[in-house]
Symmetry: C2
DNA sequence: CAGCCCCTGGAAAACTCTTTCCGTGCGATT
DNA sequence: AATCGCACGGAAAGAGTTTTCCAGGGGCTG
């Protein structure tokens, strides 16, 4: 079923049919328009998006790049992105990097080839990315050049709109709350050393401790993968090395989940023997027991906002940055200490 | 950067460049091929998938239809699908239905318009869908007609390849295990009455109870949404009504999660006051405490298998059905009863 | 009432590939 | 040595839209 056939059936030209059916600025007389719509309806015409993309040089595709769609952090944000994109009648293309940095640029190139109208890129920058032009940055620029628009979640410093949690302040607030609870000795699951998000949370946490005259023993900081298993593994190492911390801060909830499992497997109780706090407040993990004290981020909303930025009409050459504040959610995984 | 320019740069015809760069059966002389590849490399040529799709009448898109990508059940399967599709160099289009049945067909139509090469459809059929041709069935046939290929996960009876868990037997196995533990009075969170997957699990569970000479009191079966909140809500109702069951079976893990929260909020302990069992063994939920007894399904593998079926060369007009057996995973949420 | 402009319809070019069809040149076969 | 056939390069015809450009008609303005 092609537009040509619809036009013929309605007794108008191809051009007219196109103008009626696929939003053009040009006016078409009432009567004709009605005839075209009726014919399209009757024949069950469905526009060929492929041909449209070729002719318009822009497709109805919205890219969505995540590290791992099975990770609830990413899938929550993804839900927000798809909601907005689908409401606009656009189609979401899901690309996963498997945490391989290089793949972000590769996927961006693929999306550029597809003439994607917008791309939402989720994930953290790595330390060192600041220096000079990156392959990813170039790909983004190329896509923008071509008329596309890009929004990043949690990735600052790229030539694109950005939605970024206030990692530093969130972690600082959390630290102050934990100090208020009476905690004095902390251990930290710091995630991968090169990840900016992890580093910022760490810095914020440290900052608040320092301000309170506290410190973290070098042995009480453990680096590891930004995953549940990374958290488990890191915690095992921490506990094997021995620690007298009363509270363990994992820089994200997913790692905190692994941490809780490791702590239990070691025979310790949470929070009696060791308090645990996380970051993100992932919806799927709110049912852990004891409930995980965390810094709540509105993940779905962040996805929506990023999609709106990418699809909206903010000029791409003047990137907008939206900073999202976290909110402390105190649950049973942390407990007041008496000194 | 178009193929034309590459051809010019290499001093060959457009046709030759096309044959060299985009897999054709036709042979091109070594020397020419080398020149074309070199030119493409030098100019940074990236094929325009949009034009290719138009010319070939099939795109490199693979559809993936889920109810809710934030639900860990779907995101696990999605991870499997994307892994396979990306390994083939294809691009995944994510469509979400928000549990609106009608949208499955709509999304399928969109994917057909995009000339998707394959579609993986995840979700459960509804009771009553058996009768006669459905809009979804028609859309699937149309897509197949057009050269596409469809695989369903958990949806039987459609004109497409199918990967389906053995819901009936899994639930029956679970029931037998629970009976072995000494449970005699059960309550069931049955999910939405019209969902086949839920019904099959219910049937299997009942069957095993009946075989053991047991029964479930009508008041101990509660229907509700197939979500975490549905489970919470249903359990609240169950407990408010009063029950003397020693074990609660939720027909999926997500509902079981809500159930555990509701049980706790009512002041009861798990498993001391009430045992809880689920179905699916969702990876993200394996860290619940107490660990949830469940029926393990290899979700990611199911996604991979569905993608392989859809992308493989099994003729679409002779659908293949793969049945996946579950495996009982006994954890601390269920405990032996003494009589 | 003449001249202009605007409004609208249609023809045709453009978008970038794939693939068919044709023609040339070379090797092999008898 | 002549013919047949095969291998390979190129021209050109699509694939289904959008959009530009042109032309005709009607309404305004002066």
């Amino acid at each position: 079923m092609t537009l040509e056939q619809v036009a013929q059936h309605a007794g108008v030209s191809l051009a007219t049919a196109s103008r009626v059916l696929n939003g053009s600025t040009r006016q078409v007389r009432r009567e004709l328009a009605r005839r075209v719509t009726a014919s399209a309806e009757e024949l069950g015409y469905l526009a060929n998006p492929t041909a449209q993309a070729l002719a318009r040089n822009v497709s109805s595709l919205v890219g969505l790049i995540v590290h791992d769609i099975a990770d609830p952090y990413f899938s929550s944000i993804a839900a927000g992105v798809t909601r907005v994109a689908e409401a606009e009648g656009l189609v979401v293309v899901l690309g996963t990097t498997g945490r391989v940095a290089e793949r972000e640029a590769t996927l961006m190139a693929t999306l550029r080839a597809h003439r994607a109208r917008a791309v939402v890129l989720i994930g953290s920058r790595r330390v060192g990315d600041e220096s000079g032009p990156s392959r990813l940055g170039d790909e983004i620029s190329a896509l923008v050049e071509q008329g596309g628009s890009v929004a990043c979640v949690s990735q600052e410093g790229l030539p694109a709109h950005t939605v970024v949690p206030n990692n530093h302040d969130g972690a600082a607030m959390l630290a102050r709350r934990l100090i208020d609870q009476g905690h004095r000795r902390f251990a930290v699951l710091a995630g991968p050393p090169e990840l900016c998000a992890a580093r910022d949370r760490l810095d914020g946490f440290y900052g608040a401790l320092t301000a309170a005259g506290l410190d973290v023993a070098p042995g009480d900081v453990v680096h590891g993968a930004f995953t549940r298993d990374g958290g488990y593994e890191s915690t095992r190492r921490l506990l094997a090395g021995g620690t007298d911390a009363s509270c363990l801060f994992a820089v994200n909830d997913v790692m905190a989940t692994g941490a809780m499992a490791a702590i239990r497997d070691t025979g310790l109780r949470i929070p009696d023997d060791l308090s645990v706090a996380g970051f993100d407040d992932i919806p799927t993990l709110r049912d852990l027991t004891p409930g995980l004290t965390s810094v709540r981020l509105p993940l779905e909303w962040m996805g929506e906002e990023a999609a709106r930025l990418a699809l909206g009409d903010s000029p791409a050459d003047q990137p907008v940055t939206v900073t999202v504040d976290g909110e402390i959610v105190e649950r049973e995984s942390t407990t007041p200490q008496r000194s």
